[in-house]
């Protein structure tokens, strides 16, 4: 496991570097100038502007600027938000836990729905349960998150009045009331993200299970006289989950995309809504940093998937 982990970590580094190059190139190619506001301000004399440009190294060749930016990022110097007047890293550190909590809870919900539904569908293919589950999965997979969010708000907040539709980070109550309010306001964002994930995962689990069920070793396990439960759980599910893990890792960028939309709908104060706010207000350092954080998260989850892969499939980790 150790060398395998190390190799995976080493593979992740070029990807991170590649992403940082892409990000930096995009920003460098973009028209516009971080100092454009200064340039338009008549109170700033031309010499001061030139001195500032020289101080921040804006006239250096692009590769020098890239390495300077990269080293600054590595040392934790992520810049200063133009709008909030705080360091970008403190701003992001405040927001990341909320995003991870919402995403984590929704993935858990998705797992709790997709695994049983997918497994049961595959064990009894073309039964009425399978037909209903497959149709629902297809519908859920085609419902965009922003529309489900609005539908849930319409139903639970406006028609029924059960749940608040704005997520508040500054709940004043304490103890049990705090928990109940916190859970109430988290239900809808988590449902929106979780149900969408559950729909696509159910499809993956079902088709992957169906591929494994007809293999010879399953017949062998059955003919050994093992119970059906044991055959399915121990022999089929474990092998069927291997391709599912890959597919789930590949859809991680989509999950973060969904999280951005969800956070924006319910005003959840996570990094997704931070990104949208920053874009609407031209806050370049924050935009860069949040995009980079999202990239790091995607790569981190790919790494986790690789590790899971090694655990599920011992044939891989010893290679």
């Amino acid at each position: 496991m150790g060398p395998y982990l190390l190799r995976r970590l080493l593979i992740a580094i070029p990807s991170l570097l590649g992403i940082s190059v892409v990000l930096f190139t995009v920003l460098a190619l973009a028209p516009g100038d971080p100092f454009s506001e200064l340039a338009l301000n008549p109170n700033v004399p031309a010499e001061v502007r030139a001195a500032l440009r020289a101080k921040f190294g804006l006239d250096d060749p692009i590769w020098q600027r890239y390495f300077r930016w990269l080293f600054a990022m590595l040392q934790g110097d992520w810049g200063f938000s133009f709008i909030s007047r705080v360091d970008v890293d403190t701003l992001i550190l405040q927001r990341v836990p909320t995003t991870l909590a919402v995403i984590g809870a929704s993935q858990l919900l998705a797992l709790c729905i997709a695994l049983p539904a997918g497994i049961y569908s595959a064990v009894r293919p073309y039964s009425w349960f399978d037909r209903i589950a497959s149709t629902l999965a297809f519908v859920g997979f085609s419902l965009p998150t922003f529309f489900t969010g609005l539908l849930l708000i319409l139903l639970f907040s406006i028609k029924l009045g059960w749940l608040p539709f704005v997520y508040r980070a500054d709940l004043t109550s304490t103890g049990l009331t705090w928990w109940s309010e916190q859970i109430k306001q988290t239900i809808m964002p988590v449902m929106v993200l979780g149900l969408f994930q559950a729909a696509s995962w159910t499809r993956y689990v079902r088709s992957s299970m169906l591929d494994v069920v007809r293999l010879d070793f399953v017949t062998t396990a059955r003919s050994k006289g093992l119970s059906e439960w044991w055959v399915v759980m121990k022999h089929v599910v474990r092998n069927a989950l291997i391709p599912v893990v890959t597919l789930v890792a590949l859809t991680m960028p989509q999950v973060f995309g969904g999280a951005i939309v969800t956070e924006q709908i319910f005003r959840v104060p996570g990094i997704g809504s931070l990104l949208i706010d920053a874009i609407l207000r031209n806050d370049t350092p924050v935009i860069m940093a949040v995009t980079f954080v999202f990239s790091c998260l995607v790569i981190f989850f790919n790494l986790v998937a690789d590790l899971l892969y090694g655990w599920l499939d011992p044939r891989i980790s010893f290679r």
């Binding site: 990000l23 995009v26 028209p31 529309f147």
Partner: protein
């Protein structure tokens, strides 16, 4: 093995022993998928509606009428009106054109890039293949929505001034969405090329002196197209969702171009008093995506020669 594939177009190369043409065979298989056929009909109706609808429904999309703001569906306005009293049916029909056009154009772009990269990687072994696949993996691990937003934020004004607001935003959204969706196609095409280029009929073509270009275009590519068509169909749905997401976040088309996502963005602050305003465009997006996905599912059944039906 190759001879047992009935849907393979390579059968056309020699004499024609088969009674059924590949396309008729595919259509026969497609018809087995009931939901796919229904979806194809619904999708066709939607396309007809957005193409010819504005010719029949004469109300202008920007006709402001303050006597009829936020009205629910009625005879005069079958889908109701928005906060400025503009007719929603007219806006839906007009916006649908753009939403569907963005989906199609982005799909074409993704297929074009994906097939090119996949074909180059599949034909050239060695470092070219390794480099291209590394690029593909890199793009797959990019966080797409944040980057989409970043690109649009950075380049919107330039393109707007170069091509005008409508065409500029259209070109940019198509390029950006298409540029982030080619990776699955590239992988599919590469995998297909790896197995196809070792097949006997390609070897025969090579022995007869066909150039690499001719081998690819005439012999390998037509046989690799099945999965690409399926992936392309699903891409249309994904591109429609991507465009709607951008518009929904207020970063897509400008307000005077009412795509379905933009309508939802405008409607979301009036959910309590005018739910119809959000429901109609949302349902339209959902229906378009659902039917396209079902058609893709049907095509997968129809174009997969290994599946016996």
């Amino acid at each position: 093995m190759a001879g047992s594939i009935p849907a393979s177009p390579s059968a056309e190369l020699g004499v024609k022993p088969q009674v059924v043409s590949p396309s008729a065979e595919a259509w026969r298989r497609f018809k087995r998928h009931r939901m796919a056929v229904i979806s194809l009909a619904v999708l066709g109706l939607m396309v007809l509606a957005v193409v010819f609808g504005p010719l029949l429904w004469k109300l202008a999309i920007n006709d402001i009428d303050f006597t009829a703001t936020l009205k629910g569906p009625s005879m005069a306005h079958p889908m109701g009106t928005d906060d400025l009293g503009q007719d929603l049916l007219a806006r839906m029909l007009y916006g649908g054109r753009i939403s569907l056009a963005v989906g199609l154009a982005a799909m074409l772009m993704a297929i074009l890039v994906g097939v090119t990269i996949g074909a180059v990687a599949g034909m050239s072994k060695g470092w070219v293949d390794t480099a291209l696949m590394w690029l593909t993996d890199l793009f797959l691990s990019l966080p797409q929505l944040p980057l989409l937003l970043l690109l649009i934020y950075l380049f919107r004004d330039t393109l707007k001034s170069a091509f005008g607001p409508e065409v500029g935003v259209f070109i940019m959204i198509v390029l950006v969405i298409g540029g982030f969706r080619w990776m699955p196609v590239a992988r599919l095409v590469r995998a297909q090329f790896f197995s196809l280029r070792e097949k006997e009929f390609v070897e025969a073509a090579r022995a007869l002196g066909a150039s690499t270009g001719r081998q690819v275009v005439r012999h390998i590519l037509p046989n690799a197209l099945g999965p690409v068509i399926v992936a392309g169909t699903i891409d249309v749905a994904a591109a429609i969702i991507a465009e709607s997401t951008l518009s929904f976040l207020g970063l897509g088309f400008p307000p005077d171009i009412p795509t379905w996502g933009r309508l939802l963005f405008d409607a979301k602050d009036y959910l309590d008093i005018a739910p119809h305003w959000a429901l109609f465009p949302g349902l339209a997006i959902f229906l378009a995506v659902l039917t396209i996905n079902f058609v893709g599912d049907g095509l997968r059944d129809a174009l997969d020669p290994r599946r016996v039906m």
